[in-house]
Structures are given as structure tokens and as C-alpha cells.
């Protein structure tokens, strides 16, 4: 098994509407893949299918040689298939430190313990500090999340995902809603992701996509219309049609 992660013929119909059609792609360890596409192309649906939030109508999701299609979202996370959210999902009353601590404890199966302290595990605290410092969040580690900048909240989303020690990481628009002055910090965080991790990133910011991705997949109207190098994507006729022209027309031509 050379591929760490593989999706085969993933299809999802909502009633008569096909939002994902026969999507297949694979990622080796260390992959940096960007998934782009116009609005409504089905990118977030794809992430939801892959992570188990919704069940596919057909197709398979394979992680490290194991078919995880039948597993729920929680079990897939435990197998190492982790996502971040397009709209930040954090606990506004808790601090970044508490978020990451809870995640690390959860990963180690200690989060359900009643007679145990939340703080004071030195190994956990060390790991939490490591994650927060890689992301440049140490300064705000003990502020309530509701009080920190949105860009920092986006970084914390990534931090939580990393604390789960994923094999495959799906980043749903990591820079969405972040002011352009803060984008470099997100980019820096993405550069520092563990090299062996397979990363699939959905993103609209094309500068970020070109700097980050080694491979680009374009999704339009629920199917893959392009797969290749970042340098080739802008020249592809079908991609241009999808973004600029009438995609239905482009399909009938092709």
C-alpha cells in the first residue's frame, strides 16, 4: 500500500441532486494537496463525506489500507483522519491552553476520567506548550478564546487538529475570514506541519494554494475536473470554464 489515504468513487446524492459524483483521489504520506473549486462545487460536502459527518451514497474511504467507510466520525478521528472547520468551532469560555490540553488528554484516553486533575500532567503540559509555541500562540495561551484575534483562533483550530496526531489532515479553508495581514502567520503554520503528514487543504486564497500545494485538484459541480501541478491549473481550459464561464456548457463540450 503506497497510498496512505484513498477515496474511491465517492458519490453523494441529496434526493435527485448529486453533490458529489464519483470522486476518486489518493494521497501518499507527506502529500500537500489543495482542493479548489468555485462556490457550491461540493468541497465541504467532500470533507464531510471523508470524515464521516455524512454517509456517502456510494464509494469507499480507505485509510492506511483499511476501509473506514463504515466507521462513524469519532472512530475515523481516532484512526488519524482529522479535520478543521471552515467556520471556527471553539469554546469561547476556554483558553487555547485548555483546548489543546483537553485534546491531548482525549487522544490519550484520559479525558473521561473523573478523579484526575485537568492540569498538572507535566508530559501533557509540555506537549501542549510545544504545539502552542509552534503556532505562535504562547502569548495568548491563557486568554479566553472569545478575546483573541480571529487569525489566532484559526491557528488554534490547526493546533487542536495537530494535538490529535493525525495521519491525514483535512483543512477546510484555514485562512477563511482572516485579514490578509494575518495570512502569513497561517502560511507559516502550514509550512511547519509535520513532513510525514498527508494534508488536503481546501482554500480560496490562490496565493496560499500556490505556495502550499504540490498538487492541485479542482472540483466543480461535484466532480473532479482537473488534477495536476499548481503551475498547470491556470492554463487548463475546463478549470477556466468552471471558474469564469458556464460549467454546464464546458461539460457538454468535453
Amino acid at each position: 500500500m503506497s497510498d496512505l489515504f484513498r477515496v474511491e468513487g465517492l458519490t453523494k446524492n441529496f434526493g435527485g441532486l448529486a453533490v458529489s459524483r464519483n470522486i476518486s483521489l489518493s494521497m501518499p504520506a507527506g502529500e500537500r494537496l489543495a482542493l479548489i473549486g468555485p462556490n457550491g462545487a461540493g468541497k465541504t460536502t467532500f470533507v464531510n463525506l471523508v470524515t464521516g459527518q455524512i454517509r456517502p451514497s456510494a464509494g469507499r474511504v480507505v485509510l492506511a489500507g483499511e476501509d473506514v467507510t463504515g466507521l462513524g466520525a469519532v472512530r475515523r478521528v481516532r484512526k488519524g483522519l482529522v479535520r478543521t472547520f471552515q467556520v471556527t468551532r471553539l469554546f469561547s469560555e476556554l483558553t487555547p491552553e485548555e483546548h489543546v490540553t483537553l485534546t491531548v488528554l482525549q487522544r490519550e484516553g484520559k479525558a473521561r476520567r473523573i478523579l484526575s486533575r485537568f492540569t498538572g500532567h507535566s508530559d501533557v503540559a509540555g506537549e501542549v506548550e510545544g504545539i502552542l509555541s509552534t503556532l505562535g500562540l504562547l502569548d495568548v495561551a491563557r486568554r479566553r478564546v472569545g478575546e483573541i484575534a480571529y487569525g489566532q483562533q484559526r491557528l488554534l483550530e490547526i493546533g487542536i487538529a495537530l494535538a490529535l496526531r493525525p495521519k491525514v489532515l483535512l483543512l477546510d479553508e484555514p485562512a477563511a475570514g482572516v485579514p490578509s495581514s494575518d495570512t502569513p502567520r497561517i502560511e507559516q503554520a502550514l509550512e511547519r506541519l509535520p513532513p510525514s503528514l498527508a494534508v488536503l487543504m481546501i482554500e480560496h486564497d490562490m496565493d496560499l494554494v500556490f505556495r502550499f500545494a504540490r498538487r492541485v485538484v479542482v472540483l466543480a459541480a461535484g466532480e473532479i475536473i482537473f488534477e495536476g501541478l499548481p503551475s498547470e491549473v491556470a492554463a487548463d481550459d475546463r478549470v477556466r470554464e468552471a471558474y469564469l464561464g458556464n460549467y454546464a456548457h464546458a461539460r457538454s463540450v468535453a
Binding site: V77, F91, L102, R112, R117
Partner: protein, 337 residues
């Protein structure tokens, strides 16, 4: 001094040591208030013991509503399960008070397991309606099984043996009150540990965003069910205490009315804070006692007005108000309140 306080406020909040100190002070206040009640109102110890029993019920409701976000209008099912279990055990010859409390806790926990299993299948409004249905079923069951529960006459004739073989449960209720106060303090300390454990943190996370918790790789149902069992044990101990102190168990201990009142007390005191549960219970029952003596016909109206005032003026409940005051006091003085 002012400058230092200002500068410190920005980065780090209360450290761990600071939190310990705060909890120690809080606990000392509870003990002090309890003992003050003992010396100030020696003729009202039966009422004060009832307040403690209901405080345990409201604490148990706080665990699932305040910390997990599962609203319930049927919490008295768990209280009643504990009360009847202790009552039935007592009538059948188990008269040692600590054993009765344990029996109440076990029965409450079992009822909590059952109630949680049913309620957690649903969400939102349907969940709330289920909780009402459950308490009505418990009520009806206690009413129909009159051979064991005494039905609508209540279960009477409980004779509890002396505590540790030394302290009789006397007519003035001194033993019962001090026993109840000690029980409350122990339960409160244990709950403080539970809500600040990783498990407590997980519950707070589930309350705010279960989808995020799932994406962290944790199932939601078993965590909430566990809290229901803990909550049941606490409510059951409250019921057992009520049974021991009054030596009667009535149908009112599994009533919808008691459940609804518990929720009102919790909202009054403040959700998601153990202190809030205590403050709400004391204020509500104290208010009820005083106002119903002044005007026995319209006291509920007054309670309603008080509740509206609190909800509008302080949505965080009375404990939220206290916290705001202490926080602003700390800011202006630069020290502890």
C-alpha cells in the same frame, strides 16, 4: 499599585494556586453560613434540613443542565428514587443513616442511568418533554405501588437509628441538620473535583459544541450518560436525606412541581456554577418561607416577579452578579475581594 494591577490583568488570569484559595474560601463560607443557620434559627432546623436536601437536588440538576446543557423538568424522579429507596430500606430494617444515604445514592444513580438512556435519545424540546413524561411516570408508579410506597398516604414510620450509634435523630432536628450539612459539604467538594476534572471539561465542551467534541475524537453519549449517573447519585442522596430527616416519604418528592422548582432555583442562582445552585436554593426557599408567611395566597406571584427581575437584570443568575462584583472589585483594588 494601580499600574501593576493593570499590567497584570492583561496576560495571565487566575493561576492554579489562586483557584485553590478561592475554593477554600467558598467552602469556608458554606460551612460558616450553615453553622450560622444552626445558631440563628434553632427553631427552624427542619426547614433548613429541607433546604439542604433540595440543594442537593439543585446541584444534581446543575450537573446535567448547567454543565452539560441538557435541560430537564424531571429531576425529581432521581430525588424521589433515592427517597423511596431509603424509605423502603428503613421500613424493612436497614436503619443506619449512612447506609441509607448510600442506598439513596445507588437508587438515584440507577434512576439516572435509566433517565439518561431515554432522554439522551432526543434533543432540545423533545428532550424536555421526555423529562416531564419520565417524572410523571415515576410519580404514577410510586402512587400505584402503594404496597411498597404507601401510595398517596406516603411512606411513614421510618425510625432511623442514631448516627454512629451515638447521635439520636431528635425532635428538634439538630442531628439531622448537622448530618445534612456535613453531607452537603462532602458532596460539594467531590463535585468541585468532578467539574474541574478532564471529564468536567469535556462536559462543558459538549454543552457548547458537541460537533467539535466529536471532531476531537470523543463520543458524546457515554460522557453525558456518565454525568446523568453522577447526577442521579447526588439527587438520590438528597432524597435519602429528606427521608431520614422528615421520617416520611411523600408523593411530592417525585413530583413535576418539585422538578420545576429545582430548575427555577437553578436559573435564579446561575447555571453552570455549583455556588449558583446553592445560592438559588437558599434564596428561593428562604423567600418562599418568608413571603408565604406574610401573604399565603400570593407568594408564588412574588416568586414569579423575583424570577423575572433576576432573568432580565442578571441573565447569569445571582452567582453571576456576585462574580461580576468581585471581578470589578478586584480590578479597582488590584487585590483579592
Amino acid at each position: 499599585m494601580q499600574v501593576v494591577a493593570q499590567a497584570q490583568r492583561v496576560p495571565a488570569p487566575s493561576s492554579v494556586g489562586n483557584r485553590w484559595l478561592r475554593d477554600a474560601i467558598g467552602l469556608a463560607l458554606i460551612v460558616a453560613a450553615g453553622l450560622a443557620g444552626y445558631w440563628l434559627f434553632p427553631d427552624n432546623l427542619a426547614l433548613l434540613t429541607r433546604v439542604i436536601a433540595v440543594a442537593l437536588l439543585v446541584l444534581s440538576l446543575d450537573l446535567i443542565t448547567g454543565y452539560c446543557g441538557v435541560a430537564s423538568l424531571g429531576q425529581a424522579s432521581l430525588f424521589g428514587a433515592g427517597a423511596y429507596a431509603a424509605g423502603i430500606a428503613c421500613v424493612n430494617g436497614v436503619t443506619e443513616p449512612l447506609t441509607l444515604i448510600v442506598i439513596g445514592a445507588v437508587a438515584g444513580a440507577a434512576a439516572g442511568l435509566l433517565m439518561g438512556t431515554i432522554m439522551l435519545r432526543a434533543h432540545g424540546l423533545a428532550q424536555l418533554v421526555l423529562s416531564i413524561a419520565i417524572v410523571q411516570l415515576f410519580h404514577e408508579a410510586a402512587n400505584k405501588a402503594s404496597a411498597y410506597t404507601g401510595g398517596s398516604d406516603g411512606l411513614a414510620g421510618l425510625t432511623v437509628s442514631p448516627l454512629f450509634g451515638l447521635f439520636e435523630f431528635d425532635l428538634w432536628g439538630q442531628t439531622a441538620y448537622l448530618f445534612g450539612l456535613a453531607l452537603l459539604v462532602v458532596v460539594f467538594v467531590v463535585l468541585k473535583f468532578i467539574v474541574s476534572s478532564p471529564f468536567g471539561m469535556l462536559c462543558r465542551g459538549i454543552k457548547q459544541d458537541p460537533i467539535r467534541i466529536r471532531a476531537m475524537g470523543s463520543f458524546v453519549f457515554p460522557v453525558l450518560l456518565k454525568m446523568f449517573v453522577i447526577s442521579g447519585a447526588v439527587a438520590g442522596m438528597g432524597g435519602a436525606l429528606a427521608a431520614i430527616s422528615t421520617q416520611v416519604v411523600g408523593l411530592d418528592s417525585v413530583s413535576f412541581e418539585l422538578s420545576a422548582n429545582a430548575l427555577v432555583m437553578l436559573v435564579l442562582g446561575g447555571l453552570g456554577s455549583l455556588y449558583g445552585a446553592l445560592v438559588g436554593t437558599v434564596i428561593f426557599m428562604g423567600f418562599e418561607h418568608i413571603v408565604s408567611a406574610i401573604n399565603p395566597f400570593h407568594w408564588m406571584t412574588m416568586v414569579g416577579a423575583l424570577l423575572i427581575a433576576v432573568v432580565l437584570a442578571a441573565p447569569g443568575g445571582l452567582s453571576g452578579v456576585l462574580e461580576t462584583i468581585t471581578r470589578s472589585a478586584r480590578r479597582s483594588k488590584g487585590g483579592r475581594p
